[in-house]
């Protein structure tokens, strides 16, 4: 029996159209290809949890033809009824009516649409102004309270629409409380309710709610009821026990972005608003106040988030998520158990029912009493040090306090006890104003061969007085940060302020940032070596083949530092592309090119053959990894937030740089 026949019959049997004959069954058992086909088919059917019924499109032609023929026949027979007198009159006056309507439209357009300007002119929202306005709004904020109505679609087939009321309270500088009340009507009490509470006063932190529940298992969860996670002696503005204030002022992405796209003025709840558009990948921090616990529907990275900012105060009034168009998104939706979703209809809406900036909520609302199971972060608060005095580690006041604070004022200072897990002295200073903050950390006795607080792809930045710093954009867990290697220890400045502000603060620290020791950048082993922190030119000069760079990159991406990898007989170069303000997945896009290397043997379950330009490549969908051989050169592109189409487009745009290609930005 031929495989295609067997597979067709197996498929029919899965659909219930026929039963599997003994011959087909015998063939399937003996044929690995058909066994795999059947397993894959069941898997695909398994992941498509929604019964996608495709409505039959009726053929309208016969019906229309029938009506036309009927009319002609009736007319010839004189059976057409006498038309209504009003209709007859309207029909006769059709030219006059058309002229009247045309005149009305032209008149309205001319006088109200901006062609003929009459009266006072209203200022238009300027994309470049929005980040500045947001930072200003964040700094001015003393207190905030808001109630949002949240609607989420397509969580599961049984519960296609959920509704929540979220109450957010903030009191400067580190008091935050969010309460999410699930008002959904579930099919039965067995369904877990997403009632959530997060409270922090800065020093303690507590989150309560149901654990995330695998959607395929719903309505049951591995764990019944709520869990509570508590933290005491919390580090100032600790990102691991987050204070998800982007719903108040979206500082992570928007306040630092030069890519804000204004899509129009609008009116929300009677207030004038500016609508801003971004991908979900960029706007994910707007949802963190909901997603710290509980179960939520997934979004595709390229789904669109439209955010309406109040034109007067710049606080978010509303935001919606629209599904991205295209077949790849549809395939993702079907794999994740979502139904077909239209790009024109929002699948998530959060709208401010009310918000107030007048009175800071009382401090008592932010008090937490962590139980005995609370995690102790070990931060010991002290009085803020002053130069020349006080029981502080020598030099902290002089070395850690920046001369430029961007208008922020001292808030907390403290240290960690030296332990076997932290065998160095670590002190921290925090500054704040409204919702804006930055911290300066100093580590003395650092015991590792790498910069404190940043990774291998930190971008070298030139600071004032010829100093050097190493910058990392914000991720979904870490703020924007800049590391300095100095003779007075390792320093890390972290903030939710824009990149330029961070660099100004770091530049004003007394110690001068030095280049990281060469020994920290070179990692050797018996089978080869890895060298970090090179510029593209430096790395390309050490590689025995022409290095290609993409002539197309997704908007906002730019090349960062390069890494060289040498193993037996192979030499490779890794280039990381990220966006300067925030790369929430922390990864961005990575291009690896190597000589002396063939396509490695596949080990994944779902790898596929794909053409990249004229070359045969391999696509590993689970890892978002595209690999191909370009002659004798191995190349790969990986980006967790990118689909195959985008990666292939970037891959096919690879070119030899003409001369000096854009190296990592070397100045603020």
């Amino acid at each position: 029996m031929r495989c295609e026949v067997a597979q067709r019959r197996l498929s029919a049997a899965m659909d219930g159209a026929a039963s599997v004959s003994p011959q087909v069954d015998a063939h399937r058992r003996s044929c690995p290809v058909c066994t795999r086909f059947e397993e894959a088919a069941w898997r695909i059917r398994g992941v498509v949890r929604f019964d996608v019924s495709i409505p039959l499109a009726p053929d309208l032609v016969p019906a229309v033809m029938q009506r036309v023929q009927d009319y002609e026949a009736d007319r010839m027979l004189g059976w057409i009824p006498e038309p209504h007198p009003v209709r007859t009159r309207l029909y006769r006056q059709r030219f006059a009516l058309a002229s009247l309507v045309t005149g009305l439209i032209i008149g309205i357009v001319l006088t109200s649409g901006g062609v003929v300007q009459i009266g006072t002119e209203r200022p238009e929202a300027n994309a470049e102004d929005i980040p500045r306005e947001l930072v200003r709004a964040a700094k001015k904020l003393e207190g905030y309270r808001a109630t949002l109505d949240v609607t989420e679609l397509h969580w599961t087939r049984a519960v296609p629409r959920r509704a929540f009321v979220a109450t957010l309270l903030f009191r400067t500088p580190e008091n935050f409380r969010v309460e999410v009340q699930d008002t959904t009507r579930y099919p039965s009490p067995a369904w877990p309710r997403n009632d959530l509470l997060l409270v922090t006063d800065g020093h303690t932190w507590q989150a309560t709610g149901p654990d995330p529940c695998p959607s395929a298992a719903l309505p049951v969860c591995p764990r019944h009821g709520s869990v509570t996670h508590s933290i005491r002696n919390r580090i100032p503005f600790d990102s691991r026990s987050s204070m998800p204030t982007d719903a108040i002022v979206p500082m992570t992405v928007l306040a630092a972005s030069d890519r804000v796209e204004v899509i129009g003025p609008d009116r929300v709840a009677g207030r004038m608003a500016v609508a801003v558009d971004m991908t979900y990948q960029d706007g994910a921090s707007l949802f963190q106040y909901l997603r710290f616990l509980g179960s939520w529907r997934p979004f595709y990275p390229q789904d669109r988030v439209v955010l309406w900012l109040d034109e007067e105060t710049w606080f978010p009034l509303k935001y919606e998520v629209f599904p991205a168009p295209g077949p790849v998104r549809s395939a993702w939706a079907s794999q994740t158990g979502l139904p077909r979703e239209s790009p024109d209809s929002p699948v998530f809406t959060a709208e401010a029912r009310s918000f107030s900036l007048d009175d800071a909520p009382p401090a008592g609302l932010f008090q937490v009493r962590p139980g005995p199971g609370a995690l102790d972060e070990g931060f010991e608060d002290s009085a803020f040090p002053k130069p020349r005095g006080g029981p502080y580690p020598p030099g902290d006041a002089e070395l850690m306090a920046p001369r430029v604070t961007e208008g922020l004022t001292p808030w907390r200072y403290g240290r960690f006890a030296r332990t076997d897990l932290r065998p160095y002295r670590q002190t921290e200073m925090a500054y704040t104003m409204g919702l804006s903050w930055f911290t300066v950390t100093r580590v003395v006795g650092w015991n590792q061969r790498g910069l404190f607080g940043v990774g291998a792809f930190a971008e070298p930045v030139r600071l004032a007085k010829g100093g050097t710093g190493y910058y990392e954009p914000a991720t979904d867990v870490d703020p924007r940060r800049l590391a300095l290697h100095t003779t007075d220890g390792e320093f890390l400045v972290a903030t939710n302020l824009p990149r330029a502000g961070l660099i100004r603060i770091a530049s004003s620290l007394a110690p001068k940032g030095l280049p990281a020791p060469p020994g920290w950048r070179v990692h050797r082993w018996s089978g080869g070596s890895v060298v970090d922190g090179l510029s593209l030119q430096q790395a390309a000069a050490r590689i025995p083949f022409p290095v290609l760079i993409p002539s197309y990159l997704p908007p906002g991406y730019r090349v960062g530092p390069a890494q060289i990898v040498r193993t037996k007989g192979a030499a490779g170069i890794m280039l990381a592309f990220r966006r300067p303000a925030a790369e929430l997945d922390g990864f961005g896009l990575r291009l690896y090119q190597a000589s002396g290397q063939s396509l490695p043997p596949p080990t994944g379950a779902d790898q596929q053959v794909v053409m990249v330009g004229g070359q045969v490549g391999r696509w590993s969908p689970q890892d978002h990894l595209l690999e191909w051989m370009d002659g004798s050169i191995y190349r790969s592109l990986q980006g967790p937030e990118f689909d195959l189409g985008t990666l292939v487009h970037v891959a096919e745009s690879l070119r030899r740089p003409r001369a000096q290609v854009g190296s990592p930005e070397a100045s603020p």
Partner: protein, 415 residues
Amino acid sequence: MSRDVGPGLPSRPGAPRPNRVAVAGVALVIGLAGGGLVGLLTNGQPSPQVQRPSPTPSFTPPPVRELSPDTLLAWTPGGLPDGLGKGVAKLSKVDHVVSVISGTAWLRGSTDADGTRVDHPPAGLSIPLEVAGADPSTYAPFMAPADRTFLPALVKGEAVLGTTSAELRHLGPGSTLIFGSRKIRVAGVVPDAAIGAHEVLVSRRVAQSLKVTRDRYLLIDPARGASRKRLTKGIRSLLPAGVLLRVRGPGETPFFRQGDAVLPPVRLKVLFGEFAARPIAGGFLDVDPSWVRAHIPVVRVPILGKVRCNRALIPQLRSALAEVERERLAEFIDRKDYAGCYSGRFLNRNPEAGISHHAWGVALDVNASTNQFGQSPHQDARVVAIFRKWGFTWGGRWLLPDGMHFEFVSFPSGG
């Protein structure tokens, strides 16, 4: 005679006809005036207008086709015989081979990159982690070249985490895993498939220091033109008599690892929760009682009566058994011969063999006396089919049959 024939609206013959142009002109002027007035009244309050969100540039993906397998996984139940990896490396038409050791290491705690505590199991207990160990230089050809940047760190004694493990633990590069008195720095995070869906990959030397010593599977990179059939035969020839062998290619199993008929522990942790425990005598585990209270209720199900299983498994277990009952097959499940669901223990109560999935309460043993481990299974095929439909795999089809064993592999809705 000309006539305007509008559908259904024929003109009456002989009706007087006004000057259309003049009427239309007057109407236009009236419209302009009226429209202008409306516009003026509303001027200063422009009607809100939000453009549709602009989609990001989207590129049509090229067509893809299935990859023909050219990497092989080989494993034998209970661990590989000594020297198998070296023997396979000497077979003709083999380019690369790596032997991977795998087992359970006990995590006493962890910290993130700046030393802040992350994992803190209850006093006296530790978290079982499935750790793989391999020689970095022989493992290198099987890693994506871009992930080979972690090789120096592995040689130095550091670890890499799988993606799921890193998400589960909230750990990343620079964090520290604490096993007993040993602290291991995390160098990076790689896709689950790159490390056989283990939670942690370390060098062989480090794995052995964590008491993970048993070789579990081989990854084989055949040379161009090699025949899978011949290679399999060659591997079989290296095995002692009676040792069973499983050989797989890409796409035939979700992950290249030993015991590939069931979910790896990291997936069970995501779906059913992670517990802390400590090994006790007899191959059993003393599992954190608060975890057991929260996750393992006692419930009544059809046919079997009272069972102790994971809370998340109960609906589909109930559904499977109800269907067995409905199909009048209940007589094929002997209630008195039910050997349990939840049991905090190692596989076969052997501390070297990994944590039994019974410890998550996601497997159950039925008709135990007639379906002993390693013996020919004797379950009714219709019962097996119903359990399969409800997301259970049956041990009777395993390389080393375990006919009493039915275990969760997927939710019936496909998760």
